[in-house]
Symmetry: C2
Subunit: 139 residues, 2 copies
């Protein structure tokens, strides 16, 4: 699963593991929408193919951004949760959201996202706090 | 050159145009390293192939993140400069850098980057100010 890194640049190294068109959408689904199962993530508007989703989940797991576990009520189904390291991607996700909201309207019809006009630091904190609160159900 | 967008999500829409492993590295080269010519960008440590670089520059130009111009002293060579919209990607670039610097050291030897411990808002402002000052030479 491990990749060669293109250089020692921290930007490049980060892109080496989440710099494709799907990984950050999977992180978004988990972090913002609190999706946890393969099926929930598959059902997103962007329609990620199951084979790609499966490969990306394995990659994200190998770099310790997410981990796989089970809930006591359903021992058959895996759920995926973000690690601390994964949750720390929140500022990147929020910056993508803010940039797209401001700069992509001339090219695409962009959904109105509630709360995106708030202070950036507060948005990031709220998203992280909400995710951590949800995690308490699985500990 | 135009792509189909996967959804109206601002994160997804942004990833549709810069969510590949090369586009943000090209933006980094221009924004942080003040690279301007095809050759300068080709010479980066990550060794982007000329065919990919050429395609990505065209894509970034079509979405108005960069523009192509010439310097008076050399009418033969194109230079590429970031637009306002492109310069607004600075927070994304800085967040990638900060995240990689903190979280990738267990997987790759990460270069020490001077100034990365400063206040985030100040880093972003400094990078943008430096780029805008450089741009004055081309107006």
């Amino acid at each position: 699963m491990k990749k060669e890194f293109r250089s020692g640049c921290p930007i490049s190294s980060t892109l080496d593991i989440v710099g494709d068109k799907w990984s950050l959408l999977i992180i978004r689904d988990m972090l913002v929408k609190h999706k946890k199962t393969f099926k929930e993530i598959s059902d997103s508007d962007e329609k990620i193919a199951p084979s790609i989703l499966s490969a990306r989940l394995k990659l994200l797991e190998s770099y310790k951004l997410i981990y796989k576990t089970k809930v006591p009520v359903n021992k058959k189904e895996n759920i995926y949760l973000l690690t601390e390291k994964g949750i720390r991607l929140t500022p990147i996700i929020i910056e993508f959201s803010l940039w797209g909201n401001t700069n992509m309207r001339e090219f695409n019809e962009i959904d109105a996202i509630e709360g995106l006009n708030a202070d950036k630091t507060l948005i990031i904190q709220t998203v992280q706090d909400n995710y951590n609160s949800m995690l308490l159900n699985f500990r």
